[in-house]
């Protein structure tokens, strides 16, 4: 049985469907991530789980028990808020111990578990400070420890890293993964950042305008996005409008107007229908002009622009029909920003296993 079962849950605010017929089931011990653009309903979904909102329709079950009418303080679900919401008049230790006091634990037990929690988030030396004396990362860790200490069945994290700089984010992301493994609590993690989502999750749910577009393991979501929205939202993707020429059992032939034919792996498609072909920049190879074709798909183009990012350089390659593909190349040779100049004629290609066909 799943730990949390979300069944056809909807929540409206006036005319706006903030959460629209969402179905999810989350397993115990899972690190589950919700991603989606701003305003797509991630926070509202978490608030439904925490009990600050009741669904208009649908039902939530925790361990098979309905959550309808169960107040937030009675749910074994804790939240790490985006704003941290640390109690400003309590010290770090008092903040973290708060859930234990609410649960009526003995002073002895509180002392022990507080020490453990402080050690877990490396804040033992800050125990007696007030929240306003802490840095952003430290506050974040206090909020995390406070959410974890009473071992909730489910910990909801609403963009807890949003306020941190990139370096700290990376560090805390790593800490978060280790922590989740260590304590074995189920996490539902909300983030804007698809990179963070890919890095931390067992499974990712991509949300858009209140509904769920796709739920899958990170590599599935990235490698086999189910539709344009997911392909575009997770990572960078080249989208080419195509028409299906042949939907065979062993291959798919797609026509790109003014460029040529793409051969791809078989997929659900009907001959004659229109759709899009999605291929990632790192799946593209750049081949010198004039070299003989050696890839399943290979087209002529010109280098339009390049963008040096340190580890990689992104080349923008214009196809004859005007479409522009982004291709990524690792920079193995130090001190060199690019190996192609603007205006240079090249060929761009990929293997048939790369890329996916997306129906409209």
């Amino acid at each position: 049985m799943a730990l949390l079962e979300i069944r056809h849950v909807s929540r409206r605010f006036g005319d706006l469907k903030a959460v629209d017929d969402v179905c999810l089931s989350i397993e115990a011990g899972e690190f589950f991530t919700l991603v989606g653009p701003s305003g797509c309903g991630k926070t509202t979904l978490l608030r439904l789980i925490a009990g600050f909102e009741e669904p208009d329709t649908g039902e939530l079950l925790l361990d098979g028990q309905t959550l309808a009418g169960v107040l937030p303080e009675q749910r074994p679900v804790h939240t790490v808020f985006q704003s941290y919401a640390l109690f400003p008049h309590m010290t770090v230790a008092e903040n973290i111990a708060f859930p234990l006091q609410m649960a009526g634990r003995s002073p002895d037990e509180i002392r022990h578990r507080l020490q453990d929690a402080l050690d877990l988030v490396h804040l033992a030396d800050k125990a007696r400070q007030l929240p306003h004396q802490l840095s952003g990362g430290q506050k974040q860790r206090v909020a995390l420890a406070r959410g974890l200490i009473n071992k909730p069945r489910l910990l909801l994290l609403d963009e807890p890293l949003a306020a941190l700089d990139a370096k700290l984010r990376e560090q805390i992301t790593a800490e978060l993964i280790a922590l989740q493994r260590e304590v074995g609590i189920t996490f539902i993690f909300v983030t804007h950042s698809q990179q963070e989502a890919l890095a931390v999750s067992h499974r990712i749910a991509v949300m858009n305008a209140g509904h769920i577009e796709q739920v899958d393991a990170p590599e599935q979501v990235y490698g086999y996005p189910r539709n344009r929205f997911v392909a575009d939202f997770i990572g960078t993707v080249n989208l080419l409008p195509v028409e299906v020429r042949e939907a065979g059992n062993d291959r798919l032939r797609l026509l790109v107007a003014g460029v040529g034919e793409i051969v791809s792996m078989p997929a659900a498609a009907r001959t004659g229908e229109r759709g899009a072909f999605a291929v990632r920049p790192e799946q593209l190879d750049i081949i010198a002009d004039g070299e003989r074709p050696r890839l399943d798909n290979q087209f002529k183009g010109t280098v339009q622009d390049h963008l040096y990012l340190g580890d990689v350089t992104i080349y923008k390659i214009a196809l004859p029909n005007g479409a522009v593909l982004e291709a990524m190349r690792a920079n193995a040779a130090p001190g060199r920003a690019r190996f192609l100049e603007r205006g240079e004629p090249v060929q761009v290609g990929w293997r048939r296993q790369a890329g996916v066909y997306l129906r409209d």
């Binding site: 925490a50 600050f52 107040l71 937030p72 303080e73 679900v77 804790h78 939240t79 808020f81 704003s83 941290y84 919401a85 640390l86 109690f87 400003p88 008049h89 708060f98 859930p99 609410m102 649960a103 033992a124 030396d125 800050k126 125990a127 007696r128 400070q129 007030l130 929240p131 306003h132 004396q133 506050k139 406070r146 959410g147 009473n150």
Partner: protein, 289 residues
């Protein structure tokens, strides 16, 4: 455990760095104001308390016929008669009772206003202030009419009722200002972590509103101590407070030195109390997470 490393000194948002000259210029007008209208009169009072009363009010000059007329008579007088200490004590009790009652009445009201829809709040605050639109004495006389039928007139209860009535807005406003600024996310966090409604109030709302409670209490307690009109109009002859006593010295008995002494002792008492209160309020000082 090192409690305060240099890199982690408390950051006080109110203490931005300013050039010394700017700070000096900015603080000059209030300093002058305080010197002129607070320190100077206070010093005059100290002087007056040591002088002799004139026959028809006023003061005998400190130097008369080449003889220094200063003495500690008034202080000796104050401490030689229990009645004065009793009046002081009674005044502080009335002030304390008034403050407490105001707090109990004002807190729920301020909380409700702070919780009401943003659009209605200003109107509700205006309603709290509305009584100030009519004359103070008229409002007190109204209480004479209201209390008359209940046999409460000219009792300590009438005095406290009047005091509470007049000072209630001074408790509501600071409390409201404080409560309105509370971050609702804190209550949600507390609830999320298992706190029921009562616990949320005792552990979050109340401690966070302490600054509002302190300033409201000061705004009620101190004026009540100096109030003479209400005890005079609503109280019996035995309900007089320090305010009446001081007023009597200046206007009826023409004993300015004793009046000055009483005022000074009152000021000292209030300052002592304020110091104690500040000390009690120290554990939590400002700062939001």
């Amino acid at each position: 455990m090192t409690e305060s490393q240099p890199s982690n000194r408390p950051r006080d948002p109110a203490q931005t760095r300013r050039a010394p000259l700017t700070r000096w210029l900015v603080s000059l007008p209030p300093t002058l104001f305080l010197l002129t209208f607070f320190l100077a009169p206070a010093l005059l009072m100290v002087g007056a308390s040591l002088q002799q009363p004139g026959d028809f009010g006023g003061l005998v000059p400190a130097l008369e016929n080449g003889r220094l007329t200063l003495s500690l008579d008034t202080y000796r007088f104050f401490f030689s008669d229990w009645i004065y200490a009793e009046i002081f004590l009674r005044s502080f009790l009335v002030a304390a009772a008034t403050t407490l009652l105001c707090l109990l009445l004002a807190y729920p009201l301020a909380w409700l206003i702070a919780r009401s829809h943003r659009r209605h709040r200003d109107l509700l605050v205006l309603l709290v202030l509305l009584p100030f639109a009519s004359n103070f004495l008229i409002r007190i006389y109204a209480w004479i009419i209201l209390l008359g039928p209940f046999d409460l007139l000219y009792t300590p209860w009438a005095v406290i009722t009047g005091m509470v009535y007049v000072h209630l807005p001074f408790m509501i406003l600071p409390l409201y200002t404080n409560l309105e600024q509370h971050d609702p996310a804190l209550l949600e966090a507390a609830q999320d972590l298992g706190a029921g409604a009562a616990t949320r109030f005792w552990r979050i709302t109340l401690p966070l509103s302490l600054p509002g409670i302190w300033s409201g209490s000061a705004l009620v307690f101190i004026p009540v101590l100096g109030m003479f009109a209400i005890p005079e109009l609503l109280g019996g002859t035995r309900d007089i407070l320090i305010g009446n006593l001081i007023k009597e010295q200046f206007l009826d008995n023409r004993d300015w030195p004793l009046g000055s002494t009483l005022s000074l002792l009152l000021t000292v008492g209030v300052l002592l109390l304020a110091g104690l209160a500040a000390r009690a309020a120290r554990p939590w000082r400002g700062g939001t997470a």
